[in-house]
Symmetry: C2
Subunit: 479 residues, 2 copies
Amino acid sequence: MSEQKLPTRAEDFPEWYNTLVVRADMADYGPARGTMIIKPYGWALWENIQAALDKRFKATGHVNAGFPMFIPQSFLEKEKKHVEGFSPELAVVTIGGGETLEEPLIVRPTSETIIGHSYAKWIQSYRDLPVLINLWNSVVRWELRTKLFLRTLEFWWQEGHTAHATKEEAEFETLQMLNVYADFAENEAAVPVIRGRKSESERFAGADETYSIEAMMGDCKALQSATSHHLGQNFARAFEIRYLDKGNEQQYCWTTSWGISTRFIGAIIMVHGDDQGLVMPPRLAPYQVVIVPISKTDAERAAVMEAARAVRAELTAADIRVKVDDREGLTPGFKFNDWEMRGVPLRLEVGPKDLAKGTVALARRDKPGREGKSFVSREGLAATVAAMLKDIQQSLFDRALAFREQNTFDPKDYAEFKSAVEKGFALSYWCGDGACEAQIKEETKATTRCIPLDQPGGAGACIHCGKPAAEKALFARAY
Amino acid sequence: MSEQKLPTRAEDFPEWYNTLVVRADMADYGPARGTMIIKPYGWALWENIQAALDKRFKATGHVNAGFPMFIPQSFLEKEKKHVEGFSPELAVVTIGGGETLEEPLIVRPTSETIIGHSYAKWIQSYRDLPVLINLWNSVVRWELRTKLFLRTLEFWWQEGHTAHATKEEAEFETLQMLNVYADFAENEAAVPVIRGRKSESERFAGADETYSIEAMMGDCKALQSATSHHLGQNFARAFEIRYLDKGNEQQYCWTTSWGISTRFIGAIIMVHGDDQGLVMPPRLAPYQVVIVPISKTDAERAAVMEAARAVRAELTAADIRVKVDDREGLTPGFKFNDWEMRGVPLRLEVGPKDLAKGTVALARRDKPGREGKSFVSREGLAATVAAMLKDIQQSLFDRALAFREQNTFDPKDYAEFKSAVEKGFALSYWCGDGACEAQIKEETKATTRCIPLDQPGGAGACIHCGKPAAEKALFARAY
């Protein structure tokens, strides 16, 4: 563990984040500029995120597959907007096996093109539809300004790619997966999100519509946490993904894609973390409970270690993820700080006095000091711990939601709007015009994060230009 | 499903394999030469393989992490033998974000070098040891002659990388992981394996010792199924992985690495497959049971579909992986062939007569025709099916072991040896000399697969040169 002091969030939020990611042993930079090593503690969180998502993908009929990381350069050029969007960010393999390649290979920035090529081969008839495939992999986008988890040259994610017979089915899929992401974010990560449609300028390169979930970080900036794209027939036409319908006519498919990445780990850190370090949501935490045995003498140590192991067995049997910190030569205080830094939701202390009384001490990570500490009976401990973890999960969500609501504004005019987006989110009527959006961005650094699906109804005047507006947009400064 | 006819194994084993992989919907070539797409049915098998291995890795104290795919070119050059071994096979990124890179990046062929660089930073003291990390990822080796699963430009695998304080601990780890692989291969995949030490010429580039498990395929050739490397202090010295011991002295670490890849899917296909198609070992099969409802009239269809769904619910509740084939417009015969091709261990038929009698028909994939067919009561069906799956698992292992034993020879002299390695494995005394090994290879195409850990004891004369030999080696033609 690096010993660099953690600044408070109020002092320097970006530096708090950078220091915390390293001190909590989540990730580190790789030797090639901008690449990331996700360390075991960070990867354990990612594995729990994967499991929670994968279960939802399979429950909605999707299957996983493995696609190559190399895409022939010519593929990228087949969809005009797609290549415009991605070509500045590509990593290109020009040498293989000691020879210069005739056609360079692109390391995938995303897989729509190679998927399009394959689906065109695989899909012949309406009987072959829908195709509902997901990939867990990593992708490469050449980024110059990197930040661990939030923006790295290579990142891990999943990318879903589906093909359908009708526009309606593709639309249903796009929104279904948006809802899967929102359900995951809120109920697994305790991160409240706003579901919405992207403006044209914020859309995925090659999509007819992009939907996203947006979350408010601890510094009141927005983070796009997952996206779901209705690709229309754009990729189907570029790659000739066609099917013979029931009337024996050739039709183009309608396709979608959707993804969530290791960037979301950044959201978990910035939504729940505090000045003591990470706060892991219990449902995704690598360890839900850390047991710290406390003893002075060898005899005490033997007794408390035995109790600690018994508690571990009891909690493990109840499907609770437990770590016993039996490191020697470290004080309990050091261990407390260490696990607070790593955000373990619940600390369980066992000392000689506890043994005598048949109790253990529990300390909640979400409530520092006395407020979060209680002494509970060894009897029925697994149920007590499970209930407390559930309560922590809920209280993290409630706190994050209250924070977002406190920092979301409904400005009366553009002057108020300008100060609102310095402080947090602004929900304001917007005319929908890209030029107006660009001016707002230039003047305030705030972008349209999305046009929320939940609308107040009615109509109003654009917060910037005053023209009639049918919908409110969510404006914020964003990661 | 492609409709190319499956040749028998006797007619043309390589063509049988190539056709089967495609017809069973396991994999396909990607658009960039030599790359592979693992289709959902193949990937589901890989996911089950991953789960079975990951459980064993975690039970032996390992944790997973994520490392970058890009390695600075200079890293590869730090370990002399390593760079010699891998440099002809590298894919090189020379352009990133539109600019030519100052230092080209290698797409990892394996991660010892970047791991070495990181461990040197992470490990300071004996308290930091051992480090026991595993990675699930894909790697790239530029191969000109490719074959799906067996040899592709990119393949998926896991690579374990550990660092230890002493040579003994590293040796223990290397053999422990070899045993984990053997346990997995035999008890999950029903693939009998021979554990052994590689000769110097077959060693991993940069290892002091390489151990492997070797299996006999259906054409009697050998396939190296997993490897475990004792890297000595070679990478520790190249990358300065050092620790302060208890006596406050700087020491070099001892490191290991070990891996198994999607190549093992090729072994499962070639060990168990028959002239009708794949035969999946039940413990790893994507679907363990396929239910085929049989009906003529609409009324019958409604009744058998209801029964099929009830059976599915019952089996699923008993943790059995079930697929109901409710596709319309296909005959039962077509479905039977289709699922035989895909190797589902058990077919369960439900027709109107079964409903009346309270039975279902079960057909074992490992015993074609009448021998494998039985009619069993609906009562206690989950237990019946579970027992039958267990029996299939065991019988696949027994059959593969008997086949290997029938085709493993103990030749009396070099003339017999030459004909033995045309037919199968030869277990023969070998002097250990690399030049002798090279001559054998040139004369017979057989290589030393390994020097088995299980030795008869005693000593003999080298099967080729007649010099004294202390150990028998396993010779075979190999994939």
